[in-house]
């Protein structure tokens, strides 16, 4: 009798554990491939999305952003001033940068129709904790290079930098943030980011 109960529980356990194991063991290129295919298919299925920035941002926010390590991205972009910022300022910087990034990535997606994404073979050792996943977005015209830097965390692989057409985002924003902090301080940067995501001139 007890064994039969146990046996009935087994499918439930079997259903649960692969999902949890999957979150931790998914290879970085498989993760990026799955997520970006998901986002792209959502776009292809609904062409009316192309001009709706609000909805685009919602999709990117819910499908892509959970796999991004904001803390590291923001800290890296803010640079040496990060340590001088209070925890509250750090949180605000993170929120502001996230809004800006979602806007950037979504803006890039409005540019392209009839896309396919091709992933290049992952060049990494099994023991690497930081990898670069390379892909190409192909549509009409020359393919667009799109690379991701990922790090291994206990919650799975997380993206911490993005490269479009040979330009790494964190490096570009590092310059932008440094300029803003020099001119207006950390609070000035926070205000500018907040104004940007509200659509007001910074």
């Amino acid at each position: 009798m007890q064994r039969r109960h146990l046996l009935k529980l087994l499918p439930l356990c079997a259903a649960a554990t692969p999902w949890m194991a999957w979150a931790n063991d998914e290879a970085p290129d498989a993760l990026v491939k799955r997520v970006s295919t998901d986002v792209l298919n959502t776009f292809k299925a609904d062409p009316s999305l192309a001009n709706d920035m609000g909805r685009i941002m919602g999709i990117v926010d819910s499908k892509l952003m959970p796999h991004v390590n904001f803390n590291r991205m923001t800290a890296s972009a803010v640079g040496r001033h990060w340590r001088q910022a209070t925890p509250e300022q750090q949180a605000q910087l993170q929120e502001g940068f996230k809004a800006l990034l979602v806007r950037t990535y979504s803006g890039a997606l409005t540019e392209v129709k009839n896309l396919t994404v091709v992933f290049k073979p992952l060049r990494a050792q099994a023991t690497d904790t930081e990898v670069v996943v390379r892909s190409e977005v192909r549509g009409r015209g020359e393919p667009i290079q799109l690379d991701y830097r990922l790090e291994k965390t206990p919650q799975g692989w997380k993206i911490y930098d993005l490269n479009v057409l040979g330009v790494w985002l964190v490096e570009t924003y590092r310059g932008q943030f440094a300029q803003e902090i020099t001119a207006k301080g950390i609070d000035g940067l926070i205000t500018t980011l907040r104004n940007r995501s509200a659509g007001r001139p910074g």
Binding site: R72, A75, S76, E111, L165, G166, V167
Partner: protein, 255 residues
């Protein structure tokens, strides 16, 4: 001297000339704690950038917007194909100069197919046939042969450039096929059309620029320099090309 030494030598002389002329504009030189090492002419560049923005807002952007809104899509596609076709020939020549036979053959095939069967380039049959296009310009060719980028420049009307890329575009202008036209007004009309067409393609991107950058000038500069550097780095990674004399240092630090 070997071929590549001659090219480097001449390019170095050019770079010195450019640097010398620009250094004379001392008022444009940046100094102090906010100076950016790869943009020594920042104040001058910002001034020209501001000028370009005004001209763009008053003339080029409105014309490009009208062009985009009024011109039927097939006509726009035809115009785009025509100018892309001219670029493909140039890319093929640059591929030869960069010792990349595969890209040279591909781009030359593109040019042939589109010119002969595509009504002089109006139809892009080569893309239908999946012949890959690789856009190569002479600035990249110079970079491939080890010519350093030189100072970042914002050119009046033409926008972001560098010492090396200015040399590249100057030489390309000489080889431009539109120079083959006899009538000056025809040449000017064609070049104006090319500028408008290019601007129309970038309308959405430039609108986006205002949203995603905190300072459009430095954003444009950093994106431009990174992109050019990565194009040449790609060649080096593939084993083609000489690294720049002034090595690009990876400035990423993890805090």
């Amino acid at each position: 001297m070997t071929q590549q030494n001659t090219i480097s030598f001449l390019a170095q002389r050019w770079m010195a000339l450019v640097a010398g002329v620009l250094a004379l504009m001392l008022a444009g030189c940046a100094s102090g704690p906010t100076a950016v090492p790869h943009d020594p002419l920042e104040p001058l560049n910002r001034g020209i950038y501001g000028f370009n923005e005004k001209v763009d807002a008053m003339v080029l952007k409105p014309v490009a917007t009208v062009y985009r809104d009024v011109t039927p899509d097939p006509v726009r596609t035809g115009v785009h194909n025509f100018f892309s076709n001219l670029k493909d020939l140039w890319s093929s020549i640059n591929a030869v100069a960069q010792l990349r036979p595969q890209e040279a053959v591909e781009n030359f095939m593109r040019f042939n197919v589109n010119t002969v069967f595509g009504l002089g380039g109006l139809l892009d049959l080569a893309s239908e046939m999946n012949i890959p296009r690789t856009e190569l310009d002479f600035g990249q060719t110079l970079g491939r042969w080890g010519v350093p980028a030189g100072p970042y420049l914002v050119l009046p009307l033409f926008g972001p450039s560098s010492g090396r890329d200015l040399l590249g575009t100057s030489i390309e202008a000489k080889g431009d096929l539109t120079q083959g036209l006899d009538s000056v007004s025809q040449r000017n009309a064609l070049q104006a059309l090319r500028a408008v067409e290019k601007r129309a393609n970038l309308l959405r991107a430039t609108d986006l620029l205002g949203d995603i950058s905190l300072d459009p000038y430095s954003f444009t500069r950093d994106v431009y320099l990174q992109r050019r550097q990565s194009q040449i780095q790609d060649l080096i990674d593939q084993g083609i090309g000489l690294p720049e004399r002034a090595a690009h240092t990876d400035t990423e630090t993890n805090n």
